[in-house]
């Protein structure tokens, strides 16, 4: 198989699908089977990833994880030669095998563009969308002197470089100048040795020959269509495809065992975050919704969004729950974290605890206090990652605005964030602290506090972080990917209903009426209140809300609205704390309110005591 193209299958004949995700520490395998005409995820297994010594072969971990799945499923998936058996016959083998990878730190890139807010931003979006971590962005206006930029390029050891700049027919000089900074810097690739640094040129097409002249044979230069052919338009797909191809042909090929893994897989191996973006885009498109996904890991937090069909992804490289936990505390500050803690804690001890978690990242909270604190840190990590995402996911900057008399009082300019909480329909959380919280009310509360959804938002979590597997599967068998996503991947937590508008002490925020098969409630929400109504999985309820003036559910200030809410393991949450969410500054009042939220949402029920 060509490593960069998927095999063609008779999709009706596909009954057993095997998928793996080779993470930095764990390789996860899942089995998808056709049961009564529907694709369902049936078994999962995991094993340590084996890219490092002593095994130094990623397929060892894959075989171990697949063997575990096979044992659980009663299906022989690995043959005597240690290879995956295909096609499926009786209780042996599988029809399709696919994989994603983020082992060895994933794909690390450097991008360059002429203007930070324009071509460099487009290049960064292309790299992030392809699933890369962007180590640095070099541009003409990044306030560094040329020799400082060159020094930085020399220090970095990226897997590849994406160079953009200029619209087609636009600036030539600045684009070639960037190439002239990169070429003499002689950037060293991460894997060293005989590996040639891949450089993708996706800028002004009229200077391709000059750019080619600038680089010597020490690099592998690939040219693709401009990421910003005109100011008003982005064209990220060719650059993203080139990144994926080079990722497979160069980066992966130099990682231990990957050549074998590439030959096993029936579809190109994708960087894990790229695959997650893929499935989220597919869902948003199919359902016609705006969706936001977050994956909070030990070192990084990835945020994916699809608003009005536009996909964006950001990686907050140093916001995570173990390796980067200390950085979360440094960025957010301890008082901001403690505003989510309703128990008495000693700040000095907490600071030392944070550092101890950083140096021993695999530990888990044993006590209630440790859990409450860890979840408070998670809220801040998610909040900060979301702020970064909103700042990045904007309309194109530098586009000339056509303004009419009607726009006289409008402050809208180019470069506005396209992420709008009131338009958000589905919020999906994944990552250890969200997925493995002892109860799902805690997961829902963390997501609401961090993302502050407005209007009506459905909350869900990725049950076993299956989205990467489904992202690749969507390329080979979209129907199977969608069926599994809907039925097995997502665990619906419920619905959050909250108005936009400032908190006003002692005032009524909105009136509500809830009607459903098992629920019939009405009442008033005071500012600062939260209420939880049980609403089972697969159950729906109609909610009519009448906000007071100054509060908006999406129809305008004080305007009545009706929603169709979806139930889940948590239920229906009404949130009248106001947006943006503020907590009372006075300590006693703050503690009283925080405690009331904890109790109302049943976050830490007493039966969890020893």
């Amino acid at each position: 198989m060509n490593s960069t193209t998927a095999k063609q299958f008779d999709l009706d004949q596909i009954n057993v699908i095997l998928a793996t995700d080779c993470g930095s520490t764990t390789t996860k395998a899942i089995l998808i089977e056709k049961i009564n005409g529907e694709y369902r995820q049936t078994y999962r297994g995991e094993a340590p990833t084996t890219v490092e010594e002593p095994a130094a072969d990623v397929t060892v971990g894959v075989v171990n994880a697949v063997t575990e799945v096979g044992e659980l499923a009663g299906r022989k998936l690995i043959d005597e030669n240690g290879e995956i058996i295909r096609p499926a016959e009786g209780d042996t083998g599988c029809d399709i095998y696919i994989s994603t990878s983020s082992a060895g730190g994933g794909l690390q890139m450097m991008v360059a563009g002429v203007v930070r807010e324009m071509s460099a931003a487009s290049a960064k979006r292309a790299a992030l969308g392809a699933g890369a971590i962007v180590m640095d962005t070099i541009c003409s206006n990044d306030k560094r002197l040329p020799h400082e930029q060159i020094q930085r390029i020399r220090e970095l050891r990226p897997d590849m470089i994406l160079l953009a700049g200029g619209t087609d027919g636009g600036t030539q000089k600045h684009v070639v100048q960037l190439a002239e900074l990169i070429a003499p810097a002689k950037p060293q690739p991460r894997f060293g040795g005989t590996y040639k640094m891949p450089i993708i040129y996706a800028g002004n097409q009229e200077v391709i020959s000059f750019v080619e002249e600038t680089f010597d044979e020490d690099v592998k230069l690939t040219t693709v269509a401009n990421v910003r052919p005109i100011l008003e338009q982005e064209n990220l797909a060719p650059a993203r495809d080139a990144i994926h191809d080079l990722f497979l042909e160069h980066v992966m090929a130099h990682a231990p065992g990957y050549n074998k893994l590439i030959s096993w897989a029936d579809a190109p191996i994708m960087p894990t975050p790229g695959a997650v973006g893929n499935i989220l885009q597919t869902i948003a498109e199919q359902e016609g919704i705006n969706a936001l996904g977050v994956d909070i890991g030990g070192a990084t937090t990835d945020v994916f969004s699809v608003f009005d069909g536009t996909f964006n992804r950001t990686v907050s490289a140093n916001l995570g729950m173990s390796y980067s936990v200390s950085n979360v505390c440094a960025s957010a500050t301890l008082p901001m974290i403690l505003r989510w803690v309703h128990l008495d804690m000693n700040p000095r001890e907490l600071q030392n605890h944070i550092k101890n978690k950083m140096i021993r990242p695999t530990t888990i909270p044993q006590t209630r206090e440790a859990l409450v604190f860890e979840q408070a840190v998670a809220r801040e990590a998610l909040r900060l990652a979301y702020i970064q995402h909103k700042e990045f996911a904007t309309t194109l900057k530098g586009v000339q605005q056509q303004r009419t008399v009607g726009d006289t009082f409008s402050q809208n300019t180019s470069g506005q964030s396209i992420v709008d909480n009131i338009k958000l329909d589905l919020l999906v959380g994944s990552g250890g602290v969200l997925s493995h919280a002892p109860n799902m009310n805690q997961t829902a509360a963390m997501m609401i506090d961090a993302f502050e959804p407005e209007g009506m938002t459905i909350l869900a979590k990725d049950s076993i972080f299956m989205m990467p597997h489904l992202g690749v599967l969507a390329q080979v068998h979209p129907k199977a990917a969608l069926q599994v996503f809907e039925r097995d991947c997502l665990i619906y937590l419920g619905t959050c209903i909250a108005p936009r508008g400032f908190y006003r002490t002692g005032k009524t925020c909105f009136k509500y009426q809830i009607t459903g098969n098992t629920i019939n409630q009405s009442g008033e929400m005071m500012c600062g209140e939260m209420k939880l109504f049980p609403l089972a999985q697969d159950e729906r309820a109609t909610i009519t809300v009448e906000p007071k003036r100054g509060y908006d559910f999406g129809a305008g200030s004080g305007k009545r609205m009706e929603f169709e809410a979806r139930g889940g393991t948590v239920g229906l949450i009404l949130d009248a704390r106001g947006r943006p969410l503020m907590v009372p500054a006075e300590e006693k009042q703050h503690l009283a309110q925080l405690t009331s939220w904890v109790q109302e949402l049943q976050l830490y029920p007493d039966n969890h005591s020893k």
């Binding site: 520490t25 060895g104 020799h147 020094q151 002239e180 140093n318 605890h353 006590t367 209630r368």
Partner: protein, 378 residues
């Protein structure tokens, strides 16, 4: 799930240890297999391409970029010295010529007719790699470096600040539970590897820097002190390039925590010996812990060889093995595994986890998640 716990830090009285000493780019290896090397001996060296200075000649002599190649007084590959006239414009009818002189020396790498830029490369920068570990050259990797092997006393810490350093081991604390205060350091410790006990205070570190101590090793330190020493809050545990004038290693963790008695006693056995210390830490995939390597000379080698273990023998969690608890509420306590129940148990936090039972040194028995202990290896 048999390995759902932190692999412990290695503390070995005697172990056959090897260090890979590799150049960042290809170069020359200066020793051969079988050579005896000392810790500070240079074993490989190379030259990095020199620093690059871009010069916008077109702007400086006010000509179009396409005219720059014709205005240049030097060609690509020529060497220029500081003060040399690099380019001269043609002027108008031979008058009003503009010229520019270089402010740095170097070799002309390229002259661009598109941007009007000249790239000047400075003299190559030497890079040298020292042996670090005194011993025998076991392997030469052509053009890259060497592997050095010797029997050593080897200790890992949990976190370090600063890079490689060398010195004789000298004690400042009487026992492993004594905090390392500033008044315990004196001028005799200049250039030494100073061993403390429990927490090293911020004042002690400052005093160490004043005196010129090579490294301080102690049980713990306070987060606030570290922040003050570094001048910033350490966000991720990727260290080694700090330039604070000293190398610091904590062996246990943050807070008031005593150095493990076994670690302290092992240092005591090697008091006065020369050690190589590296504070470089990377707690990511491919984890690196800070380390102290103390080569054993012939007369210091203990008679027994029972302490020498291969890597594969270590890391099995079973009943009776010594462990350290690495998370609250029992953080820092030592004991041994007394039970390994297989079924999941609900913790006070509400999470379900695989646990183990530990008999603490005090005789008390506690139940902790398996993820919250580390083996005491060696």
């Amino acid at each position: 799930m048999a390995k759902a716990y932190s692999p412990g830090l290695q503390i070995s009285q005697r172990v056959l240890h090897s260090s890979r000493r590799i150049l960042p780019i290809p170069g020359d290896v200066l020793v051969k297999v079988g050579d005896q090397v000392s810790s500070q001996q240079i074993v490989a060296q190379t030259f990095m391409p020199g620093d690059v200075t871009p010069i916008n000649v077109a702007n400086q002599i006010s000509v179009a970029p396409s005219e720059v190649p014709n205005c240049m007084l030097f060609s690509e590959g020529d060497e220029v010295q500081e003060g040399d006239i690099l380019a001269r414009s043609k002027g108008i009818f031979g008058f009003f010529k503009a010229e520019m002189t270089t402010k740095t020396s170097g070799t002309i790498e390229s002259i661009s007719h598109v941007t009007g830029q000249v790239i000047l490369r400075g003299a190559p920068l030497p890079i040298q790699v020292r042996a670090y570990q005194a011993g025998t050259v076991k392997e030469v990797i052509p053009e890259q470096g060497v592997v050095i092997e010797s029997e050593v006393t080897f200790l890992q810490g949990i976190l370090g600040i600063g890079g490689e350093t060398y010195g004789l081991i000298k004690f400042a604390c009487q026992n492993n539970e004594q905090d390392l205060e500033a008044d315990l350091l004196d001028e005799s410790m200049q250039g030494k590897i100073v061993i403390g006990g429990a927490r090293m205070t911020g004042e002690a570190v400052k005093r160490g820097i004043e005196i010129g101590v090579a490294a301080i090793i102690s049980g713990g330190m306070d987060d606030e002190d570290l922040k003050e020493i570094l001048g910033y809050d350490l966000g991720v545990a990727v260290t080694g390039s700090e330039n604070i004038g000293i190398t610091l290693i904590i062996t246990e963790g943050f807070g008031d925590i005593a150095m493990a008695e076994r670690t302290f006693n092992l240092f005591k056995e090697r008091e006065g010996a020369e050690a190589a210390v590296n504070g470089t830490t990377q707690i990511r995939a491919g984890v690196l812990r800070p380390e102290i390597v103390i080569p054993l000379s012939e007369h210091t080698k203990p008679d027994t060889t029972s302490e020498t273990k291969s890597e594969t023998e270590m890391g099995i969690l079973e009943i009776g093995v010594p462990v350290r608890i690495i998370r609250d509420p029992y953080f820092g306590l030592l004991g041994s595994v007394s039970q390994l129940p297989t079924e999941l148990q609900t913790l006070e936090s509400g999470s379900e986890s695989r646990v183990l039972e530990v008999i603490l040194e005090s005789g008390k028995t506690v139940v902790v998640p398996r993820a919250n202990v580390e083996l005491i290896e060696g």
